[in-house]
């Protein structure tokens, strides 16, 4: 690995190394570091459309967190992000864990099932959103059509138009889209467990439930750490599925509003009102960014502690 041990690196070689590292670093500085640093600064200014106005200190932050018009919307949306996070942890990550365990035993047809579960993952979220929007259509969608043909007319609903089911429908569409991801990550984690451990437990007469709870679950802790952290970041950046399925306003009546929609409406306006507030948008983005960084790091550290070396 160490190549230039014998002689000091020649000027020619230093130039060559610089040629290799400088372009990527300049690129990253311009399009990642500079925008992220500016994002914090922008939140402290007043904006008129695309023009930066005067320095206003914490005014934008106060407005986002406590302002009469903005705060109720933000907190309402935040709550929906939390619901989505909890529900997806159980359905998407929990479901993925169980599916992975079934696939781990390599039952008949497991290659087919492994490929099938990942098909929705490769599709664009926009395709998934539109597909389920059509399927959940109150009159002609296949969900209600299936219920009618089974004689379960009373269960048919305007799923996306009903305040009590709309958010749940979005969460399920998201789970359908992504459950294959935790499934295959957990499967890879399980395949790294030394088979002797599981074999020994089986010989000791451990039943399936104890095996899962006391042996498999603790040993796939590294996968859990990554999957839960990614889901946490994803849940608070949630945007595409709600945007496509229920629109920019989180209809009906804001019951599906999430922070991603609030941010987009605030920063880039909605078509009807054509409002654009970069100051408030930046404040919201900064708060969300700090929230994600702080909680995701805490979550990672806490989950890391349960990981066992083997």
């Amino acid at each position: 690995m160490i190549v230039s041990r014998k002689q000091a690196p020649s000027l020619k070689r230093q130039m060559w190394v610089a040629f290799l590292v400088v372009p990527p670093i300049v690129f990253m500085s311009l399009f990642v570091v500079y925008p992220i640093l500016s994002a914090f600064a922008y939140a402290f200014y007043d904006w008129q459309g695309l023009a930066r106005g005067e320095y206003v200190g914490l005014k934008n932050f106060k407005e986002v967190l406590f302002g009469a018009t903005m705060a109720p919307v933000v907190w309402n949306a935040f709550l929906h992000n939390v619901y989505a996070l909890v529900a997806l942890m159980i359905i998407q990550n929990g479901g993925g864990f169980l599916l992975a365990w079934l696939l781990y035993k390599e039952p008949f047809g497991f290659r087919f099932h492994r490929i099938a579960v990942f098909v929705p993952v490769v599709l664009s979220t926009i395709i998934v959103g539109f597909l389920w929007k059509l399927f959940l259509n109150p009159n002609f969608g296949i969900v209600n059509q299936a219920l009618y043909s089974l004689g379960l007319d009373s269960l048919a609903k305007p799923w996306l138009g009903d305040s009590s089911t709309a958010l749940g429908a979005l969460i399920l569409a998201n789970a359908w889209h992504f459950v294959g991801f935790p499934t295959l990550v957990y499967l890879a984690g399980m395949q790294r467990i030394p088979p002797e451990i599981i074999e020994a437990a089986r010989l000791d007469g451990t039943n399936e439930w104890q095996l899962l709870k006391n042996i498999v679950w603790p040993l796939v802790a590294p996968s859990t750490t990554i999957l839960f952290t990614l889901l946490f970041i994803g849940a608070f950046n949630w945007f595409e599925i709600p945007y496509v399925m229920v629109g920019l306003d989180g209809s009906p009546f804001g019951t599906t509003d999430v922070l991603g929609l609030v941010f987009y409406r605030t920063a880039f306006g909605n078509q009807s009102a054509s409002i654009q507030n970069f100051g408030m948008g930046s404040a919201l983005a900064t708060l969300l960014f700090l929230f994600i960084v702080v909680f995701a790091s805490m979550l990672t550290l806490w989950l890391r502690r349960r990981e066992i070396q083997f």
Binding site: M1, V3, R13, V17, L20, V21, P23, F27, M28, L30, F31, V32, Y34, P35, I36, S38, A39, L50, L99, L102, P107, G109, F112, H113, R114, I115, A116, F118, V119, P120, V122, L123, S124, T125, I126, I127, F130, L131, L134, F135, F140, I142, Q145, W176, F181, A188, L203, G205, N207, S223, I233, N237, F239, E240, V244, Y264, A267, T286, F289, I292
Partner: protein, 284 residues
């Protein structure tokens, strides 16, 4: 679950468990695939047929919807834009990622730790939240509403992971390879190009797939950066298309099918590489 716990201890799993596992797996695969199948079947039907017989098999010779989508809408343009943007971004990610990864992996330098930390920070920060300053920067550079606005953004997002994948692999190559070439008088660029990089095709494929799929599917950045219809990528164009044909369900399903077809077929052909590439960040 209680039914399982009450099973008598056994060294082999009981038959009833294997049966239950089969039922769950088959049900799950059905749920995963059936919506996609309905989408494709509906694309061959007229709107009336979809409404009246949603689950029936269509007449597969009826390809009017596809002809209309490809002939009368802007879908082929969106397609070309997606290919152009994804292809250029992935190429830039691989070139820049390999350059930085190679330097860090093959030359000892005091700045290596700094460079890796720099890219590690880029890996953690969600650039989506910096979209406002990025929007203003791109406007100042005159790139807004152009395909380049997307290409530079995607390259910036994908570069850090490519650096780590490339550096991680290149570090494992034995230094005897380059020493031998050096003794033969080969220059440093030549050693990189002719000796080392030909060995680095597998990690390049992983980095390419890991980035190509989310770039191809991305909707957020085009939504913010692109206004002109002729420059829209597929996911963004699809929203315009869906808005235009709201009541013509045959067209809608044909549009969705055409948009989903390339990546789905590619996935079925290369499922191992896709799965490996897309889970590369989460599986060590």
């Amino acid at each position: 679950m209680t039914a399982l716990t009450s099973q008598a201890p056994a060294s082999r799993q009981p038959i009833s468990f294997a049966l239950l596992a089969q039922v769950i797996l088959i049900a799950n695969s059905f749920i995963m695939l059936y919506p996609v199948v309905v989408m494709v079947l509906s694309a061959f039907k007229t709107t009336g047929e979809i409404f009246e017989h949603p689950f029936a098999l269509p007449d597969f010779t009826q390809i009017g919807n596809f002809a209309k989508v490809l002939g009368e809408t802007a879908m082929p343009t969106y397609f070309m834009n997606s290919i152009l943007v994804t292809g250029t971004s992935v190429l830039l990610i691989l070139v820049l990622g390999t350059m930085a990864g190679y330097a860090v992996a093959r030359y000892e330098s005091r700045t290596n730790t700094f460079i890796l930390l720099f890219f590690l920070a880029g890996l953690m920060l969600p650039l989506k939240l910096a979209v406002i300053p990025l929007f203003i920067l791109l406007r100042d550079l005159g790139l807004l509403d152009s395909r380049w606005s997307l290409i530079v953004t995607y390259t910036a997002i994908g570069l850090p992971s490519a650096v780590f994948i490339m550096a991680g692999f290149l570090r494992t190559l034995p230094s005897e390879l380059e020493d031998a070439a050096r003794i033969d008088g080969a220059s440093e660029p030549r050693i990189m190009w002719s000796v080392m990089l030909p060995l680095a095709r597998p990690p390049m494929a992983i980095a390419a797939i890991q980035n190509a799929v989310p770039i191809w599917n991305d909707f957020f950045f085009p939504l913010v950066f692109i206004q002109t219809d002729a420059r829209k990528t597929l996911p963004q164009g699809l929203t315009a298309f869906m808005g235009e044909y709201t009541t013509d369900w045959g067209m809608l399903f044909a549009g969705l099918t055409i948009a989903a077809a390339p990546i789905t077929l590619l996935y079925i052909a290369l499922s191992r590489q896709f799965i490996q590439g897309m889970t590369a960040g989460a599986v060590k």
